[in-house]
Amino acid sequence: MDAKEIIARRVALELRDGMLVNLGIGLPTLVARFVPKGISVAFQSENGLIGFSAPPPEGMENRNLTDAGGGFIAALPGAASFDSATSFALIRGGHVDMAVLGALQVDASGRLANWMVPGKFTPGMGGAMDLVAGAKRVIVAMQHAAKSEPKIVETLTLPPTSARRVSLIVTELAVIEPTDEGLVLRERAPGVRVAQILAGAGARLIVPDETPEMSLGCD
């Protein structure tokens, strides 16, 4: 199981029946593959749809039916389409129960950076700032480190996406919860030692007496 699958599987265990969920482009999209059995969630695509699966049957792609990454999708029975103002009324208004976003950095205060690297790369924030401001829970799904540079840092060196604290950070090594006291290590990936998690983090983590192994919902 590669890093991305570990992350996606663990994030999927945060889903609860009946939730409206927004998955960011890239890694977060994988979460849809691992929705736990017996749980039914609705996915929102911020370009204007609730209720879809990806990809559509081969040869049945419709140019007017894509996700926020531009990929073809299929609408499910019960799907609803709407314009961008309505889509972000859903997001900003707290109607999205959970948003899963990738990140370049998260810092000790739980702030996220994911939309620009000054002087290098400025794709833009798209819907990320609204999602972090408005979704009931925001889960960061990211690899623990990038090119051996920690992505969990004491203070963001990249421009923040929001002043709001995210709810949970899931990496291929650990589940970490930002709290008033700081970043608390909640779970470690199967076979991963606490020391390894701390070594890969650029910020102090609070380590409870017990750090259980994360479930990956494989049973």
């Binding site: 695509s45 911020e46 370009n47 204007g48 749809l49 419709n62 140019r63 007017n64 039916l65 894509t66 996700d67 926020a68 990454g69 531009g70 609408a75 389409s81 709407f82 314009d83 961008s84 103002a85 889509s87 972000f88 997001i91 900003r92 790369f121 400025t122 794709p123 833009g124 924030m125 798209g126 819907g127 990320a128 700032m129 609204d130 401001a133 408005g134 421009p159 923040p160 996406t161 929001s162 002043a163 709001r164």
Partner: protein, 218 residues
């Protein structure tokens, strides 16, 4: 209130160099492709483009960027178009990045006669720079001002002879709100149908907002 149908070329001739344009679409989905091509053919220059993104170099708004028609962009995302990024880095295009929900609300405010909206989005980020901040009941909000444009170039699914519009699935996106926010609204529908074919409850943009319809290509 019948509209007359004009060609994409005639529409492009109405749009002067230097004009500000809202263009519907999300990564090219729901963008008025024939209007965009007509602007490229006419060699339009110094346009200001307001829209979600600049799509890809060969698709949607990206074709205007690629052809050198654009001086300014206001969008939420340009990551899919390396040309926009290159021209921005070179200082050849002025890009203002706006959170997608804020962009939608600013356009809606521009069309709805509001002086602006108060949003929590962007508080504590670069987006807040130079903006008025207000506290309402203990929460901090940015005042985001309305956006309007000289022209809105929209893609619709059906238009009837009165200009009433429908949209298809995710091709609606910014089109319905842009219809309120420009002095001249030019719509490229997939199909034009007789008045009465679109029932009142299916109309998503009332025809009174539409200035011109692009007709069937000759």
């Amino acid at each position: 209130m019948r509209k007359s149908a004009i060609t994409a070329e005639a529409a492009a001739a109405l749009i002067p160099d230097g004009a500000s344009l809202m263009i519907g679409g999300f990564l090219g989905v729901g963008s008025p492709d024939r209007l965009i091509d007509a602007l490229v053919s006419r060699g339009a220059r110094e346009l200001t483009i307001i829209g979600n993104d600049t799509a890809y170099p060969t698709i949607g708004v990206g074709r205007l960027i690629e052809a050198g028609c654009v001086a300014r962009v206001r969008a939420s995302h340009i990551g899919t178009n390396p040309t926009t990024q290159r021209l921005m880095s070179a200082g050849a295009i002025d890009v203002e990045l706006i959170p997608q929900g804020t962009l939608a609300e600013r356009i809606r405010a521009g069309g709805a006669g509001l002086g602006g909206v108060l949003t929590p989005t962007g508080v504590g980020t670069i987006v807040a720079r130079g903006k008025q901040v207000v506290e309402i009941d203990g929460e901090i909000y940015l005042i985001e001002k309305p956006l309007r444009a000289d022209f809105a170039l929209l893609r619709a699914h059906e238009a009837d002879y009165c200009g009433n519009l429908t949209y298809r699935l995710t091709a609606a996106n910014f089109n319905p709100i842009m219809a309120f926010a420009a002095d001249c609204v030019i719509v490229e529908p997939d199909e034009i149908v007789p008045t009465g074919v679109i029932p009142p409850d299916a109309v998503r943009t009332p025809g009174v907002l539409v200035t011109h319809l692009i007709g069937r290509p000759r």
